[in-house]
Amino acid sequence: MWDYSEKVREHFFNPRNSGVLEEANGIGDVGSISCGDALRLMLRVDPGSERIVDARFQTFGCGSAIASSSALTEIVKGMTLEEALKVSNQDIADYLDGLPPEKMHCSVMGREALHAAVANYRGEEWQDDHEEGALVCKCFAVDSALIEETVRANGLSTVEQVTNYTKAGGSCATCHEAIEEILTRVAAERCTAPVVEDRPVPAAKPAPTARLTNFQRMRRIEEVVESIRPMLQRDHGDIEIVEVDGRNIYVKLHGACHGCMMEHATLSGIQSKLAEALGEMVRVLPVAAMGH
């Protein structure tokens, strides 16, 4: 059962101003039945003073959607349109002594209905600009759409960064797995994974006749890795050679590459490039594999 305030319960059980307002001259329809919420706000505006003289609503939705609609009509009655447009969703939630984080979107819907109704009165088109996703962080009421957008826009790659930008995950920390999943998904989209070209390694290519000296071999490994780095850096990642031990080349992945779901593909791509350049079979391994 939701933890609804007394005020929410009271407005749900005894909604104010429900039903059709016949003489309405500004109507705002918002919401979506697929989300389980839909609200029609009807305003009667006095054209001379631009004051809202009456407001009624019809709502398809849960307890807090109905309570938010009821609260909204009570708040805006008597306001001028200018004053009404300043009403925020937080004002609606505050009027009801707060809403559970999962239910804040009900107050957002109220504010949108208000803007839509005013636009309708003024003969303007109202455009909704917000998209909703599943709720990820319950402490700060942050949804997946906002996190994804922020990660994409700012090239974020860690949970900590997401917390700094959106607050999500900053309190009880139980949503970190969900945030990591979003990071992985966005990283995978962004990853133009440079070296995954699946070119078959020529099977019977004769080894270079002149054997490389140790020094030449090291240099060549370095050259190949250096040539790959810009591609990784473009995707906010990087690579560093840690150790060359016989046929095993240990590397460390940085930034977005670290922990990326494409890590394996990236390493095997680098491996085939190196094998080609050196004319011998080598293994590229993450540094974590050292000492195994």
Binding site: P15, D29, V30, S34, Q58, I66, D128, G133
Partner: protein, 403 residues
């Protein structure tokens, strides 16, 4: 306010007082560890043996050693599916359905991320499976089939016995999540090809925190929890003795009430459903109504939202549940309703009434009287509803500006 009426028995049931009485000595008197050599443990071991036999009876299992006590239905589901994958590393596919409980669906989503292939069987408008589709998916690459016996939201029964036969013929392990079915429909595992079956105690008047995994003798198995010899090494961890004893008693009571469940409880359920549908227009029962649990009725009320219905019913002391998005905090209505193609205008207004042997005729009469005014009250608030019916072409007449 009148005495509360509990019609949410698919969520959980009241612990039967006889179950509580049976359990009480195992807290402060028979507190021994059944593994101990002394007499404190010995009597507890005897009580567990007795409880195991009662569960064996209820499930119709051939051997008492096929009964493994776990902590809950979810643990049993996870143990079964993960065991099948670990014991058969050469097989990397799972077959399940789109309407399973999250205990199975979320696990399958995770397995998919780890590289396993998951086939999810679809259902038709009445929530039924296509067995030809199922048959075509059975192959030597499939490690396990996991299909629920009865759906928790609609009560729809799946033909798990026939499906287990088909899996067996194809050499594939078969698991069923039977947490809603056990105690409500007769089960006879020894004459079936079902390999694994999950039970949850609190769905049949035993306490929360106790479950069972049935494991057919000889089935290849890998434990989820290692670390002790309990349950013959198949589920380590000191036994939840009091709850095991409680579940044993609950299983005995369920056997004794099986006929009652399928006659009297069924009659009350039918009376409730018919009574409501006769008074409320634009409402219908969801699922395979001719083939479902005797205690469950899921009714979709069009153009109203489920949480609002529940809140108004709750004010009259009536407890039920809903498949609406709002009751779960997600944005989508129940995956079961969506899988059956129930339109959004109805899916958000689905209410599940689930009865038990505790419910009386007088209670059902009260609910039949209480529901229609609640629906009427909310429809009056709904922009999709006119004076005495939906507005013409409701989804066109009211088309909010984002959808």
């Amino acid at each position: 306010m009148d005495a509360p009426i509990y019609l949410d028995n698919n969520a959980t049931t009241r612990c039967d007082p006889a179950v509580v009485t049976a359990m009480l000595p195992f807290f402060s008197e028979q507190f021994g560890n059944p593994s101990s050599m002394h007499s404190f443990g010995n009597k507890v071991g005897q009580a567990i043996k007795e409880a195991r036999a009662r569960v064996q009876d209820l499930l119709g299992a051939a051997h008492d050693s096929e009964i493994v006590f776990t902590s809950c239905g979810t643990e049993s589901d996870s143990t079964a599916i993960l065991s099948a994958l670990k014991a058969q590393p050469e097989r990397n596919q799972v077959i399940t359905t789109v309407v399973e409980h999250p205990a199975v669906l979320s696990l399958c989503d995770q397995l998919e991320k780890e590289g396993y292939a998951v086939h999810r069987l679809k259902v038709d408008k009445r929530g039924r499976l296509d067995l030809d589709e199922y048959k075509s998916l059975l192959s030597p690459r499939v490690a396990v089939v996991s299909v629920m016996w009865a759906n928790n939201e609609t009560g729809t029964l799946f033909p798990v016995e026939a499906m287990a036969e088909m899996a067996s013929a194809a050499g594939v392990m078969f698991h069923t999540d039977a947490v809603q079915a056990v105690g409500k429909v007769p089960i006879d595992l020894k004459n079936s090809k079902i390999d694994m079956l999950s039970v949850s105690g609190h769905k049949l008047h035993a306490p929360k925190g106790i479950g069972v995994l049935y494991l057919r003798r000889g089935l290849r198995f890998r434990p989820l929890l290692r670390g002790g010899h309990q349950e013959r090494g198949r589920r380590a961890g000191t036994e939840n003795t009091a709850s095991i004893v409680g579940l044993g008693k609950a299983a005995e009571l369920a056997m004794a009430h099986m006929a009652h469940e399928n006659t009297e409880v069924r009659r009350l359920r039918d009376k409730l459903e018919t009574g409501i549908l006769a008074q409320v227009s634009r409402a219908f029962a969801t699922g395979d109504t001719g083939n479902r649990l005797p205690n469950t009725s899921n009714i979709a009320f069009e153009f109203v939202e489920g949480e609002a219905i529940l809140l108004l019913l709750n004010r009259q002391g009536i407890a039920a549940s809903s498949g609406s998005a709002c009751t779960s905090g997600s944005l989508e209505p129940s995956h079961v309703m969506r899988a059956m193609g129930i339109p959004y205008t109805a899916a958000h207004g689905t209410i599940r009434f689930s009865l038990s042997r505790d419910n009386s005729e007088a209670e059902i009469d009260r609910v039949i009287a209480a529901v229609p005014p609640v629906i009427a009250q909310l429809r009056k608030l709904s922009p999709y509803w006119g004076d005495d019916g939906p507005v013409e072409e409701p989804t066109k007449a009211f088309a909010p500006s984002y959808a």
